[in-house]
Amino acid sequence: MQTGRPRLGLIKITVVLLLLSIIALIFFIKGFVITEPAERVVRTAFYPLQKVFGGLYDGIANAVRVIKDYESVLSENEALKQQLHEMQLLLSGYDEVVAENKRLRELLDYSEQLPHKVVAARVIARDPHCWRDSIVIDKGTADGVQRNAAVLGFSGLIGRVTSASLNSSVVMLITDPQSSLSGRVQDSRSLLLVEGTSRPDGLIRFSCLESGDRVQVGDRVVTSGLGGIFPPGLPVGEVVSVEKDFYGIADTGLIAPTTSLLDIESVLVVVEADAGQR
């Protein structure tokens, strides 16, 4: 170990690596295509492990749940312990199946209502530190997923694909401050600009594009289709508050997304929008 003198080699390496990181960040922010192929390669390399670890975690979580059930059964009546234990084990497995069945059925029902061709995908990665609002799903270009494809939850829009590799894709959620889309009030047909916010409660912001348009609490907001990215008519959320903008002219306020974005496990990706809808 070197002692008492500056580590020049270390400082040189640090400066070089920091410069490389800063260049990568600048490239990314400026949207240079160089980071996208690198992303695709890395995500393709990460896909198998992420899939395995995700499955492993689910298995362990289920096992822990079963063990917890087992412990609670032990505290029950001694005579019924064995029987109850078996029932709990069965029930825990059954509940899991029922919950999954319900989730998938809701997803299937919703996908059948949609006029678009969709593929179901599972969330395999997400930034755990809440610094960024994006998720990674287990479907990519091999399944027909393209950049800018709309991504739906159980009951409405949750985001769009910002980058697609062979087996996985990154989805920017509508709560991301970088996200903006063209929306419409379902009843009055007023056009809105809907943008992500940095709010911890997950609400997103809207502002009316026409000064005369009025929006009310409870109004349902859908995509307008005018932005050219999302098909029209996809549910976005419900207006929860309305106020005047800075100049006191147009309505602005907050929307609660139709789908909770905190615990998304499965999503639908629009791989082919209905021609009549676009």
């Binding site: 400082i11 990568a24 890395v42 990665a125 530190h129 809440c130 990674v136 910002t162 990154v170 911890p200």
Partner: protein, 180 residues
């Protein structure tokens, strides 16, 4: 000639080992940690692995490891490439430069490094993301996340670095080919 070739082989092995561990740690970080309960999801595996690499392999190796694992995490998540590698490289460099000034074989050192490293990492991350307009949380929330993360990573570093330390002691205080 033969000695030079052996040195190159050893360096190649060290790079491959670093890439493998970075890949493994970034995969766990991006695919499992976000599924944990909110309080525990502030665990920072790449940071703790970086601290282990700096303390028990070499500061230069640790800085390189920090860069690769940070970049892998950013690329695997697909946004703001470079943010995490900047903060991890800074953490590794600070610990590496100051390594001679503290007792690196003491458990309290590991806990403190986990605490300070986590705070530094999270606040640098938040500052860069704010600077480029991509921070999806408020200032207050970013401080809260950083504080909870610091406490958690302090305990986590203590446990993990103790295990690495025991392994390091058993291998005659030498990991010539990386964190094997």
């Amino acid at each position: 000639m033969r000695g030079g070739r052996l040195a190159v082989d050893s360096q190649v092995r060290a790079v491959v080992t670093a890439l493998f561990w970075s890949w493994l740690i970034a995969s766990i970080e991006t695919s499992i940690v976000f599924r944990l309960p909110p309080l525990v999801s502030s665990l920072n595996l790449p940071l703790v692995a970086t601290l282990a690499a700096v303390l028990f392999v070499s500061p230069e190796y640790g800085v390189g490891f920090a860069f690769v694992s940070g970049l892998f995490c950013d690329l695997a998540i697909g946004s703001s490439v470079g943010v995490r590698s900047i903060s991890l490289v800074l953490c590794a460099a600070v610990v590496g430069v100051a390594q001679d000034r503290f007792f690196r074989e003491h458990p309290v050192t590991w806990a403190l490094l986990g605490l300070v490293g986590s705070l530094l990492h999270d606040l640098v991350c938040a500052a860069i993301l704010k600077l480029v307009g991509r921070l999806p949380v408020t200032y207050l929330d970013s401080v809260r996340i950083a504080a909870v993360g610091a406490l958690l990573n302090s305990i986590f570093s203590f446990v993990c670095l103790w295990l690495v330390y025991l392994r390091w002691k058993a291998s005659a205080k030498s990991f010539p080919d990386g964190l094997e």
